[in-house]
Amino acid sequence: MHPVRKQRLYLVLFVIVFSSAAIGLVLYGLSGNINLFYPPAEVAAGKAPVGQPIRVGGMVVDGSIERSDDSLEVRFEVTDYQAKVAIVYEGILPDLFDEGQGAVAAGMLNEAGVLEATEVLAKHDENYMPPEVADALEASGRLPDGGAKL
């Protein structure tokens, strides 16, 4: 074989081997590290899996936030105005987390249907709402007015 062509062959082989390794890494990285969003209505209907990482989001129900007096545990509910999901979280909540505002929690559902959250995200400015929450609210026909949608 012509040396340049031989070199190209090795090059192609190297790229193939390396990219396969990379694709393997990607698949490994994806397994268990991606999670699906469920609106509260679907969680209430039992469509969300128990014991797998998922995200749930909606508006934080007025008057639902309960803080523990001796630890960082917080309990609250989110709703898409069709159903409510109870969430328990131990840690420091983001600054913009509040009753009547949009929030997304990531974690696992337990047997009692409570989401044990490892992370809570709130919308980060006055005019913005997480797209998942906006869509969930739109699906239930309760999207608040005033620039809340994207």
Partner: protein
């Protein structure tokens, strides 16, 4: 009045950019020298009018003209002046105008500093940048006019700048980031110009290289500042989130890193020509993709401004035009510029190839992780999110694969080298690196950490390899000073940048492995000890800033019973918007940061949720990034980029240069 003036200036800039994208290209096609030589003047005119437009927007912000919609939405009369100024780019419309201004700065720089460039090339480069400018200026004028008025119904005061953006880091982070992002448009324009002309030789690489290195260095600084800002401003001590918008700036950086290295091979050896051109197209396309991701609001992110779908569509169409057009051109013309130079497997070329493959694969995996949620959503598979574990699982091994080769790179020779020579040169550094890796984690005490050991082995492998190489190059001279003077700026730039990479690796791994984070309930009088530092919560006080009121928690920090420092994190409530924000307090140091932030009040007895973090060597990664950027800037000082007459055949010089 000033707003209308700015609007008018922007319209003139649009007209000039249309002229710039048409006349010089026509001139290059017809061989009309007059038309071609209009390009630099048009580029400078464009810069002047974009500058006037930007100055007008800054003026209306500083004058609190709340009849202008963006000022009313993003500023406030109580806002300190410096933040009124940075508020210009703290919103979608203004940041786009900054994008345009910086594009014009690059264009003017190319027009002014390229006297050694043939007119044909220069006119094509500027015209391609002109086309990009047409796209962005019309985007600004037609979908997001920063000068739109609120008439009637001018509010008495503005709604205030998002408190997160009221920070010194945010004054310089966007401009630096955009300098990098947009700077790749120069590399892109050179690539397209080369394809148009069908001429791609070492002198092309020599022209394109300094611009690419500078853009890359700016992007490095911009990303580093963004990470630093997130660390102290978002209030929970993270420094990299794999957030889609961070990825949007990181992908061009990864592609740009590959480009910087493949340009080296193209300049020195005339190799990888068409590949280099493709990388230049990729790097800029990824910059545009980043802009699309941020501006269209398709992804959830801390950076997403309130957006509207028309904007997303506009950028998507523009992106399709640029990527589609340049790839079509590439497909048609790449065979004309491809190279037939052979090299041995043990050579610097191979090692640069490894660099390119690793960085390209990293870019693609980050791209995949960023777009995966969009893809699944578009296919109706539900709303997924891809978290940091994915990115860490993929990215970290790729970088670990890279470093062993990276250590050999600088000592290797072009064209052909031998394993025996590498062994002779690098055996000592390899042994020293392993010894360092095994012993250094012992200094930290506590449980022996294998990952830190591995990071130290890799980083010191780079360090000792470079040290040995510098020593070989310097030792022949009569005095050390004379020897150092022999080293070229571009070689020193490479050394500094690689050392910066080593420092960043150590910083990232040490912080991730050794950091201690305690989130707990504390009330005044409580003491908590982490990593030998004892934090005593003394009191909570009410304080008032220029445009906020705050609860301030005061901590005394003791080390070995001796008062080390006092830290006072705040929980602020901004008066105009009512928004609450956490201001962390940090005691910084080269070897460790102490970080305190407040959560929310707990119960009725004055207790608060408190975040206490101990972050060892977290500064190293930012220092490393600064070193990488300095390295990038240093290469421009090289004499060979300033020679007016460019030799035709660089190959022989490249070989002797590497052997020296």
């Amino acid at each position: 009045m000033i707003a209308e003036f700015g609007h008018f200036a922007l319209i003139i800039a649009l007209c000039l950019s249309v002229l710039l994208s048409v006349i010089p290209l026509w001139g290059a096609w017809r061989g009309n020298v007059v038309a071609m030589s209009l390009a630099p003047s048009l580029a400078i005119g464009l810069f002047v009018f974009a500058g006037i437009s930007f100055a007008c927007l800054a003026t209306v912000f500083l004058q609190d003209d709340f009849s202008v919609a963006v000022v009313a939405a993003n500023s406030n009369s109580l806002l300190p002046h410096i933040y009124k100024f940075s508020a210009v780019w703290g919103n979608h419309e203004g940041s786009l105008l900054l994008w345009i201004l910086i594009l014009c700065v690059w264009m003017a720089a190319v027009a002014l500093f390229s006297s050694q460039l043939p007119l044909l090339m220069l006119s094509r480069v500027l015209a391609v940048m002109g086309i990009v400018a047409v796209g962005f200026i019309s985007f600004s004028l037609f979908t997001s006019n920063p000068f739109a008025r609120l008439l009637p119904g001018t509010p008495a005061d503005g709604q205030d700048l998002n408190p997160l953006l009221q920070d010194p880091g945010l004054i310089i982070h966007p401009p630096l980031l955009y300098m990098g992002y947009v700077g790749f448009s120069v590399a892109f324009a050179f690539a397209i110009a080369a394809l148009l002309g069908g001429r791609l030789d070492a002198s092309w690489a020599r022209w394109s290289r300094p611009w690419t290195n500078v853009a890359w260095a700016f992007l490095t600084l911009g990303i580093m500042l963004g990470s630093w800002w997130a660390y102290y401003e978002l209030g929970w001590g993270g420094w990299w989130f794999w957030d889609p918008v961070e990825n949007a700036s990181f992908m061009p950086w990864l592609a740009g890193t590959a480009l910087v290295h493949s340009l080296a091979a193209t300049e020195k050896r005339g190799l990888f020509k068409s590949w280099t051109v493709l990388l230049a197209i990729f790097a800029f396309s990824l910059s545009l993709l980043g802009t699309f991701l941020v501006r269209s609001g398709v992804l959830t992110s801390v950076h997403a401004f309130a957006t509207d779908p028309a904007r997303g569509l506009f950028i998507l169409v523009f992106l399709a035009f640029v990527v589609g057009g340049s790839l079509t051109l590439y497909a048609l013309r790449a065979p004309a510029v491809s190279s037939r130079v052979s090299f041995s497997w043990l050579s610097r070329e191979s090692l640069l190839l490894v660099n390119n493959v690793v960085f390209l694969v990293s870019t693609l995996t980050v791209l995949f992780g960023t777009l995966f949620p969009l893809l699944m959503d578009a296919l109706g598979q539900g709303k997924y999110s891809v978290g940091p574990p994915y990115f860490n699982a993929v990215f970290v091994p790729l970088m670990a694969v890279l470093i062993p080769f990276m250590g050999i790179g600088p000592v290797s020779r072009w064209k052909g080298d031998s394993a025996a020579r590498w062994r002779a040169e690098l055996l000592l550094p390899a042994i020293a690196a392993v010894i360092c890796g095994v012993t250094v984690p012992l200094l930290h005490g506590g449980e022996y950490n294998v990952w830190v050991a591995l990071a130290v082995v890799l980083a010191s492998w780079l360090l000792f390899g470079l040290a040995r190489d510098v020593w070989y190059r310097v030792r022949g001279a009569s005095t050390a000073a004379r020897g150092f003077r022999r080293l070229t700026p571009s070689y020193l730039g490479m050394v500094v940048a690689h050392l910066g990479f080593a420092a960043a690796v150590v910083g990232v791994v040490a912080t991730s492995q050794y950091n201690i984070e305690h989130d707990l309930k504390m009330q005044p009088g409580d003491t908590e000890v982490i990593a030998g530092y004892s934090f005593t919560f003394t009191e909570v006080a009410q304080v008032r800033g220029p445009n906020f009121v705050a609860d301030e928690a005061r901590f005394d920090v003791y080390e070995n019973g001796r008062l080390l420092t006092r830290l006072a994190p705040q929980k602020r409530r901004y008066l105009a918007s009512g928004q609450v924000m956490t201001e962390a307090a940090i005691d910084d140091g080269l070897w460790r940061d102490l970080f305190v932030a407040m959560g929310e009040p707990i119960g009725n007895e004055g207790a608060w949720a408190i975040r206490l973090h101990y972050k060892p060597m977290v500064r190293w990664m930012w220092l490393g990034a600064i070193m990488m950027a300095l390295g990038g800037f240093a290469t421009v000082a090289d004499k060979r980029y300033r020679q007016r007459k460019v030799a035709r055949n660089e190959v022989s010089e490249g070989v002797s240069g590497a052997a020296a």
